[in-house]
């Protein structure tokens, strides 16, 4: 199992209120699998995704990515682990505003020890693949939303991760661009990677092999979409 989430909970405690953002959620994503988590706004999707990505330590429960619990690692090792195993795609793209498309895509190479030339060759290949060839020297502000999300997607793929975590990646895209992106995610899964997509978008859900519904931080009911699921 590439991603294994086992009974994780996360509570946000403010001075006056306590929010159980994620409450005892378990979820597995195998290699080659495209899983969508669907839920209303505030249901805890982003919280769950960050915990899965080694960016937010659960209050309880365990996470394993590629057989390794990232929260057992020291911060620097965890960062490197993320760089090697996980690609992120966000609704807000989160591109570095002053770097060109090429440099943005190359940024994850900073986190791994790999010859610059190899990273560069792969970046150019991804640019080609995602149709950004004539945009590679542009800064994000000069790109369309679709181009930005494709650039973000290319960045997520630079270090050839096993797992892609996508948080509402189509939220800022029109239909065509959304379809294109979802196509790329499907391709990644088809090629043997694991995809965990969190969204409230039904069309995005339609691309997934399996959908998990999240309601108030808890999994509501398992829905089988295409392939058989293992609970």
């Amino acid at each position: 199992m590439l991603l294994s989430i086992d009974g994780v909970s996360r509570t946000y405690t403010d001075s006056d209120s306590t929010v159980h953002a994620v409450d005892d959620v378990s979820l597995q994503v195998a290699a080659g699998e495209f899983v969508a988590v669907q839920g209303a706004s505030g249901s805890g999707k982003s919280t769950l995704l960050l915990m899965a990505g080694g960016l937010l330590k659960p209050d309880s429960g365990h996470v394993q990515v590629n057989g390794q619990d990232p929260y057992c690692l020291k911060p620097d090792a965890r960062a490197e682990f993320r760089a090697q195993n996980i690609g992120f795609v966000f609704q807000q793209f989160h591109l570095v505003p002053y770097l060109s498309v090429l440099d943005n895509i190359l940024a994850p190479a900073l986190a791994v020890s790999e010859p610059e030339t190899r990273a560069r060759a792969r970046a150019l290949q991804l640019i080609e693949q995602f149709g950004l060839s004539d945009r590679q020297q542009h800064v994000p502000a000069k790109l369309s939303s679709g181009e930005r999300q494709r650039a973000a997607m290319a960045r997520a793929l630079l270090n050839e991760p096993k797992l892609i975590l996508a948080d509402e990646p189509t939220g800022n895209l029109d239909h065509n661009n959304a379809d294109t992106l979802l196509g790329y995610l499907s391709d990644f899964a088809t090629a043997g990677g694991a995809v965990l997509l969190v969204t409230h978008d039904d069309r995005a859900v339609a691309c997934a092999q399996r959908v998990v519904h999240l309601q108030n931080g808890r999994i509501a009911e398992p829905v089988v979409n295409a392939v058989s699921s293992r609970r």
Binding site: S46, L50, L55, A83, H94, P97, Y98, A107, P108, N159
Partner: protein, 450 residues
């Protein structure tokens, strides 16, 4: 892709924030270097000014000294001339000669003529130009009038000194020199022949009016006078000229003559020459006093100048001591605030860099690289600006002073060399905390919005 490239891209992207950082470092370094240059320029100019003033004063004093010396030489020369014109001022007479008697009736006591030779052969130093004389108030029967008859011979040389140019020509036998009154009353002129007590004399010289007994005096050869008066080998007095000696002259003269000629006494005749000499001596003394005063006042002037310059330097130093740390602190705070604002602005970017796996030290390095660029650029600009400001304000631009003097002491050079490191340290320290804060920021908070 490197962290360095990331930092440079960011600088190019947010030029204003970078520029403000550079300006604030430039200000700090310019202030430091400017103050140092100014203080050093103060010192150089002080040294220069004092040296110029010193030279001026010295040459002025030298000129004054030269003129005093010349005045002294002129005085000496003038004294000689006046002495010659107005006669002798030391009178050596026999001890038994009563002064009242002498003043009322003229010389009465006598002493041997050999005294003058004795004096001449002595090693006397306090007097000059020995002139033996006889002097009597006598009747000039041929003209039925009284005159003072003085017999003199040529000056007796003082052996150990060699003969000086005599002040008076000898009145040779058969010749007569007459005073003004006699000359006018008897209507005499040089070359006339007169008869005095049945002896014939030729007038060899007539004196101009002197307003003294000289005007009723006739001078003839000593020997003839002695015979005429029945005073063979006797004299009434020896006239002499005192030396131009310092100190209590008359007692020195008395002591010396007393030792050589015990049977004599010495009278100092008041003479106009003496008065003039005294006046001149006084003038010389005044000139010398003026010179000393000049020396003292110029010394005081130099001291005042130096004190003034020192005061100025001190004021500048105090000003710098207050201003420089203030500006340094101000810049450090500005850089800190700029860096803090920068990290806030970059929250999203830091979050994503963390998410994609950059390590804490790499994030810190991104910020410190930027701080280094700001520090070095600000440091270099600051040196240039500060040096220029110090040079202009220090008043060196107007002077033809060698700029290398500024670096002679080495402290300015040290400051300039150290300035970029200082700038680097300031920006580094001021940026350190914001960089740490940036690296500690939880990426989850930023990324959750997606």
């Amino acid at each position: 892709m490197t962290v360095w490239r990331l930092a440079i891209r960011e600088i190019r992207h947010r030029k204003l924030s970078f520029l403000m950082g550079v300006i604030s470092v430039t200000t700090a370094v310019a202030c430091l270097v400017g103050a140092q240059t100014l203080l050093r320029a103060d010192r150089v100019i002080t040294e220069h000014v004092l040296q110029v003033k010193q030279t001026e004063v010295e040459s002025a004093i030298a000129a004054k000294e030269e003129s005093v010396k010349q005045a002294g030489a002129e005085l000496e020369d003038a004294m000689r001339k006046h002495m010659k014109g107005l006669g002798f001022n030391i009178l050596i007479i026999p001890k038994e000669q009563s002064r009242s008697e002498m003043l009322l009736n003229g010389m009465t006591a006598t002493m041997p003529e050999s005294y003058v030779d004795k004096l001449g052969q002595s090693r006397i130093v306090t007097i000059n130009h020995l002139l033996p004389s006889v002097s009597q108030r006598v009747q000039w029967p041929e003209h039925e009038r009284e005159v003072i008859l003085i017999g003199t011979r040529g000056e007796v040389p003082i052996q150990h000194r060699g003969l000086k140019k005599p002040l008076l020509e000898e009145v040779s036998a058969g010749k007569m020199v007459v005073g003004y009154e006699i000359q006018t009353e008897l209507d005499l002129k040089v070359g006339d022949t007169v008869t005095f007590q049945k002896q014939e004399f030729t007038i060899s010289e007539v004196h101009p009016e002197r307003g003294s007994t000289d005007d009723v005096t006739v001078w003839i050869n000593l020997k003839q006078a002695q015979e005429m008066l029945g005073m063979q080998n006797l004299i009434n007095a020896i006239l002499a000229l005192e030396c131009d000696c310092a100190g209590d002259r008359i007692s020195a003269i008395r002591a010396e003559i007393e030792a050589i000629l015990p049977g004599t006494q010495v009278i100092e005749k008041f003479s106009q020459a003496l008065a003039r000499a005294e006046a001149r001596a006084k003038a010389k003394e005044t000139a010398e006093t003026a010179l000393t005063q000049e020396k003292e006042s110029s010394q005081a002037m130099l001291l005042r100048e130096e004190q003034g310059r020192n005061q100025l330097e001190q004021q500048h130093a105090v000003f710098a001591a207050v201003l420089v740390p203030l500006v340094l602190a101000g810049s450090a705070v500005t850089i800190f605030l700029l860096a803090l604002a920068n990290t806030r602005q970059r929250t999203e970017e830091i979050g994503i860099l963390c998410a994609i796996g950059l390590q804490t030290r790499q994030i810190i390095l991104v910020f410190l690289s930027k701080a280094a660029v700001i520090g070095i650029m600000g440091g270099l600009f600051g040196i240039g600006l500060g040096y220029w400001i110090g040079w202009s304000l220090g008043g060196l631009s107007g002077n033809s002073l060698d700029w290398q003097l500024l670096f002679a002491a080495g402290d300015l050079l040290t400051t300039i060399v150290a300035a970029p490191f200082l700038a680097l340290a300031i920006t580094g320290i001021a940026s350190w905390v914001p960089a740490l804060l940036a690296a500690q920021r939880d990426p989850a908070v930023v990324l959750q919005g997606g």
